[in-house]
């Protein structure tokens, strides 16, 4: 048998995934693969982050990092909450504006085209700038077009730590804190165009000490800004709060141990072709590093934010959350993955079952488990009744492309019984990055449609993503 990694599924997602008829009807109507999103859950996740902020008496806005999912329903549902949105392209900005988020609730981040920058400035959203030249370009545009002063945040990078040296991956983004003079100069020169709102960081890491060092670095930069006569109001701590994907830590521990054993040749492989996910056997020793997302995480999402805010500043010996508050700053965040926890699933139809290989009508771009290194089992949603002799099996999952590499996951996954053509395999909790982040239309295979579903009394209602508005189908509630 293949060791299992059961996904953590709860609340509404659990309930709709248990509604087998609904799921089959959706796929029968709209084909496989099919993305399912639950907009109401996003609102709940926003509240959880806000609750953590409030526990520290902190003001600030939760900006949903749009890049994690393209769904319109999710963004339109977001508009009904107190949250904002972090947009990283011209398309995302237009999408957010069209979904009903006003400019005051939009933060434009990432590398920016001229057009993106212009629309951001024209509509008056906050610009999270990556560099000094970007600020200069923005200021020039504001002056040339007679636009109103733009609220800007400056992304910083290269934070130093005190005591120990906390090493961090080099980042292509942000103004290095070792030399902020050019930043102060551009803000000073363009006072009439740029309204400095505060310092920001986003670190691509799950390492808490790195983030603590970054937050502390932002506090220092803000103090410097005040000394220079600016009045910054907020620090933006970016995203990267993480998701716990698995129901049971013991399964994760057991699986990684089994993988170690398999790589060392002590047990039969548990992956396609003995793939080691970064681990190698060199003369009986284990080498390399396990290059996968830590699928089980005891501390993720709002709890991770809580840990960060509770971490004591090494310089001031006081929790970072208290320091931010003491300085009267707001704390903004840009969670993507963590806000989409339990917000969706990808449904795929089984096409063929042959020699322990299950082929589904989807490919590894539609369900991007491998590309993001997230390891978890699919859920089998059978069409017919089980046969009496059906028992658990371990299978490999192949996609619908004619590429040897097109495996939905390289793990061998356990299923409670052998799947048959027409059954569904459901990849739960995939709304953040694993759903449509990289989906294309290779081989002219169909790209997934997306449906949004919501509770209606004891039932589920659903519609195409682009048809979803927070009021549609809920006329009775006014």
């Amino acid at each position: 048998m293949a060791p299992s990694l059961q996904p953590r599924v709860d609340g509404d997602l659990r309930s709709i995934l248990d509604s087998h008829d609904t799921l089959h009807r959706m796929v029968d109507t709209l084909g496989s693969p099919l993305n399912l999103v639950l907009p109401d859950r996003l609102a709940g996740n926003v509240r959880d982050f806000e609750t953590t902020l409030r526990a520290y008496d902190l003001g600030g806005t939760v900006y949903f990092a749009h890049k994690a999912n393209r769904s319109s329903a999710l963004v339109r549902a977001l508009a009904t909450t107190g949250a904002g949105i972090d947009v990283a392209s011209l398309g995302e900005l237009q999408h957010a504006l069209g979904a009903g988020l006003g400019p005051a609730r939009i933060m434009a981040t990432g590398p920016k085209s001229r057009e993106f920058l212009w629309l951001a400035a024209r509509t008056g959203v906050t610009v999270g700038a990556d560099s000094v030249p970007e600020l200069a370009e923005l200021a020039g545009m504001v002056a040339a077009h007679g636009l109103p002063r733009v609220r800007v945040m400056a992304r910083l990078s290269g934070f130093a730590s005190t005591g120990t040296t906390v090493l961090s991956r080099a980042s292509r983004f942000g103004v290095p804190v070792s030399d902020l003079d050019p930043l102060w100069a551009v803000l000073d020169e363009h006072r009439d165009q740029l309204d400095f709102h505060g310092a920001a960081y986003h670190l691509d890491t799950n390492g808490l000490p790195e983030k603590a060092a970054a937050l502390e670095g932002c506090l220092e930069a803000m103090a410097e800004a005040q000394r220079r006569g600016l009045s910054p109001r907020a620090i933006d701590v970016g995203g990267g709060f993480g998701v716990n994907y698995l129901a049971d830590s013991r399964e994760w521990e057991a699986w990684t141990t089994e993988l170690t054993g398999a790589v060392l040749g002590q047990r039969p492989p548990i992956t396609w072709d003995g793939h080691g996910y970064g681990l190698r056997n060199e003369g009986g020793r284990l080498r390399g590093v396990l290059a996968v997302y830590p699928a089980y995480r005891a501390v993720a999402g709002p709890a991770y934010l809580d840990r960060l805010l509770a971490t004591a500043s090494t310089a001031h010996r006081r929790p970072l959350g208290s320091l931010v508050l003491d300085n009267l700053y707001d704390l903004h965040l840009e969670p993507g993955r963590a806000l989409l926890d339990q917000c969706g699933a990808v449904l795929t139809r089984v096409e063929e079952v042959r020699d322990g290989l299950v082929r589904v009508a989807a490919n590894s771009n539609d369900v991007a488990l491998e590309a993001h290194g997230v390891l978890m089992d699919p859920i089998l949603v059978p069409r017919g009744e089980p046969r009496p002799d059906d028992g658990p099996v371990g299978v490999h999952l192949a996609g619908n492309l004619c590429l040897e590499a097109d495996l939905i996951t390289r793990r061998r996954v356990p299923l409670p019984r052998p799947p048959r053509a027409g059954d569904l395999l459901v990849f739960a909790n995939t709304a953040g990055y694993l759903m449509d982040f990289s989906a294309g239309s290779a081989l002219m295979q169909p790209t997934a449609r997306t449906v949004a579903a919501w509770r209606h009394g004891g039932d589920w209602r659903w519609c195409l993503d682009e048809r979803y508005w927070p009021v549609t189908g809920r006329e009775e509630t006014g």
């Binding site: 005591g163 040296t165 906390v166 990684t256 284990l286 009267l328």
Partner: protein
Amino acid sequence: MRYDSVTDIIGDTPLVRIDEAVHGLRHIDLYAKMELYNPFGSVKDRAAWNMVRHRLADAADRGDTVVELSSGNTAKALAVIAGMHGLAFRSVTNRMRIPEVKDLLLLLGAQIDELPGRSECLDPADTDDPLTRMYHTVSAAGGGYLHTDQYFNDLNVQAHLRGTGPEIIADLGGRAPDYFIACVGTAGSSTGVARALRRHDPNVTVVGLVAGKSDFIPGIRDIDEVHEVGLFDPQVYDTIEAVSSDEAIDGLLTLVRRCGTLAGPTGGGAYQGAVRYLRGVDAELTERRTAVFIVCDRVESYLSYLRERRPELFRQPARAHSVRTLTGDELAAARTVDVAGAREWIEQEQPLIVDLRSPFAYRALHLDGSVNIVDDLFEEMLRGGLPFSRRRPVLLVCPVGEKSARYAALLTRMGHPDARSLSGGVIAWRDAGAELVRD
């Protein structure tokens, strides 16, 4: 006893019997090998010294930096030895998880580099693992480093094959023990001792102890991690068992409270793992047997580790005058004053304004004329009684008026007649457009 150098004290540690009344084994004499007696405090002094002693002169000539992947005792020993020989020491680690050890290393003059965490947006094609890269840098010949490489260096094993193991045999009157139990970190001590004992008597049973996954016992590895260790050879151990941090702390408490042995967590883990294993054996025995476990280091460095896991061990006496003891009624009765009222009051009566925020924030902006006493410190001061006259009114301020209300209630309880809290705090003050200054 006179020595020419402190490094001459390394090794020759005592072997001490554990009282049967404590361990309860009826047929087994259980001994602790007291590695905590080494001069820098642990079993790793032997390995550290053995890995560098013959290379120090050359390294000093070249001005090399001693470097090791260690977050604990090896780093401590190497930092001391490097310092004695005028060399710099650099410790590379995933995480310094024990604050006392970190501070001690900084005190010893070590540079500590902590490796970055995992990427949140993982790119599985990225093979640029920071640890591997670091390893290549410090291992390159002529790169300016003396890399001791404890996980792969056979001199680590040799230190125990030549020292620790033969010492045990000598102290047992020329006999090897029947059982040897040790925690596995680099596997150096357990491998070296096991080889020495088996040379003497091939029938010795060797038990290796590792941590459970997702558990943490500073100094040792978990069952998967041991496979990354170059020195680890599964053949050395008759059995490998997991020991939990809970058991390690139980064992530590037994050694510390009942055996006069101030052992750290791995000493406690080795004791507890030994007794757990031997209890099964003991039941079947009719003749006497001997067992030895290693006490690797001392307890003092792990107080915060213990406090985190067993706060009840550090019972503190109830504090007088603490905001934590305020009742709901006392809180509700706290006097508050809004921004407009406060401005008037300040104008008329010049209350003492106490700003409870951090000095860092106070320095940036504050109410004119206020004094800054950060809340932690204020709480300390109040323990001794009121730090100012009852005749002087007091205005307490904090960011949102929440903490200040509690301290106003506390001052009232302590008999101050006019302590008020600025409602809405400095944020409300700022938002009302009232003046804030920096000096």
